[in-house]
Symmetry: C2
Subunit: 349 residues, 2 copies
Amino acid sequence: MGASISDVAARAGVSVATVSRALRGLPNVAEPTRGRVLSAARELDYVANPNASRLAAGRTMTVGMVVPLLSRWFFTQVVAGAQSVLAAAGYDVLLYDVGGAGARDRFFRRLPFRKRVDGIVIVDLPLTACEQDVLETDGTPVVTVGLTGSRFSNVGIDNVAAARTATRHLLNLRHTSVALLSGQPVGSVRFSAPLQRRRGWQQALAERGIAARDDLEVDGGFSISGGAQAMAQLLALGDPPTAVFSGSDEMALGALKTLADSGVRVPADCSVIGFDDHDVAGFFGLTTMHQPVAQLGEVAASLLFDAIRGGGGGPRPDVVLPTTLRMRSTTGPAPVPAATAGRRAAAIS
Amino acid sequence: MGASISDVAARAGVSVATVSRALRGLPNVAEPTRGRVLSAARELDYVANPNASRLAAGRTMTVGMVVPLLSRWFFTQVVAGAQSVLAAAGYDVLLYDVGGAGARDRFFRRLPFRKRVDGIVIVDLPLTACEQDVLETDGTPVVTVGLTGSRFSNVGIDNVAAARTATRHLLNLRHTSVALLSGQPVGSVRFSAPLQRRRGWQQALAERGIAARDDLEVDGGFSISGGAQAMAQLLALGDPPTAVFSGSDEMALGALKTLADSGVRVPADCSVIGFDDHDVAGFFGLTTMHQPVAQLGEVAASLLFDAIRGGGGGPRPDVVLPTTLRMRSTTGPAPVPAATAGRRAAAIS
DNA sequence: GGCCTTGCCGCAACCGCTTGCAGCGCCTAC
DNA sequence: GTAGGCGCTGCAAGCGGTTGCGGCAAGGCC
């Protein structure tokens, strides 16, 4: 097998302690000595055994990331963002997907990360008070993404404001009937973002004195196919909306497909705005609310560094990152009444 | 912090050695003793420190997975499949994304997984002989996914045969000009699957005595937008193809969008068949070659178990998993010449 | 010249678990 | 009755690093 630290020590003519210090760049090693150690290590092709280091040092140099539904685009992006900065700092990432049935309960019952991570970032999982207690008593530093008002450091966006901006964009285009594609992804987890985006939609409507019609709020399950079905449901209405605010780009893409299949022109007959700025949103020309997904992960990682270093004390920052409206080609002025009538006829045919 | 094994030993009134054996289910522990140990462990909420275990036992209970471009659907699915069976066996997974510039060279130069994994699965990365040497001399067990003819155990599909089947499907529908969307994803890695699928396409054409026209073979870069551009390129031809075999579903989706935007009816005017059976292929009604992605990962994991247990000896199996044609609604009979002419006119207008 | 500081380095005790080996009690066989 | 075997348990030596502490030499100071 590979060389061990004592081999390096022997070759460099120093003690293992000195090798350890030299290799980790600690200050109290004379330069010539460090040089000898480094070249000995290089010649022997030495790499430290991480398990031995972790055991001796008591730090694991590993962080856990728990996500619901790893398969969703948003989560993979956040993970990728965090991973890049963690890796740069020498940390490994352990992934916990809590999406499966019972996986979440099992996770909080077993705390499988104990003794294996220095910290843990929880992505977009609304924690019950009880779950927060469990995590807090365990003592490992926690930071969350997209979970405001918890007892942990957090980074996220202002979903309400972003949804308001999106809806206002449609209202400014003189749309008066603006539908909402929302709901919850299938599975046991309940996310808070959909609710917040719904609130923003309601607020924007209220600002203009428009009542939020119940029949314009449909569940798209945060999936492409769900969005398509939800759009079909909207088109079946006696007076379908002329604009749709979708809580995610995936649902918006599904909606666009239904519209295309039904012969409804976008944006001439119906405007669509999404949320996320998914990779392919640009390709489909989807107007959407951009949120800095990768950056969410990056910030989470650095917050975690602080938490690990800083111990328990200090304030728990709540970082909110900006969102921006990306105007593309799926939103346009509301159709004049005559055109609307024409569209309805086309959709029926 | 959490309890350690000696705490459990004290509480159960036995030695740490017995605790270790009892907790791991080794046979040589009397049942009553085991019971006492188990309840002591439960009461103390004890979990073993994995680093200490790994260090003492010499096994890391971790495997590495190296993938090019984690962001591509295929790879995430393979990883997920492997992860599920590895996790069930108590293994952690360390992910190495070798997509970035220089990342691959760095990976093979540094071998960052040394001393941290018991084995490693390499997904769809054509290894140079030199790289194979490096891995082999390092000694950690390796299994590959989608890499035939290497010195390691492998699991994959028969890309040539699958591509032949896909192309034959189009030929059976009386198409005579069948285009190929192929190419390589952007980045430094060269994959072998595209080449094999191209070969299958050529073979199927040759069977029917049809020459593979150069202008019908376009590069879609294995992305949605690339597929869209490639399709546009095909439509610009004087005599565009009536059928397209796409090397991936992502490219096929892009192609479908271009066709829709150009007013070309699918499959009446142009048939499209994909490859992979991507999550959303069903939603878009895309006819495609299904490959068992998750199963590739699962099989890879169990092959790796064998390799870890079996030491170096024994044969290196090469498992090939079946692919199946999923007929949906984007392929149909070749248009009769008159219809073709009509389409061409429509495309130009 | 004696004393104290300062900078480097080695000693050795861990970190928490695994495992070969030996010990011990008890049963079976002769 | 004694030897041998078997089942269970404990002892203790690691696994390969990290780190507090103490030693030693060189240099500065009075």
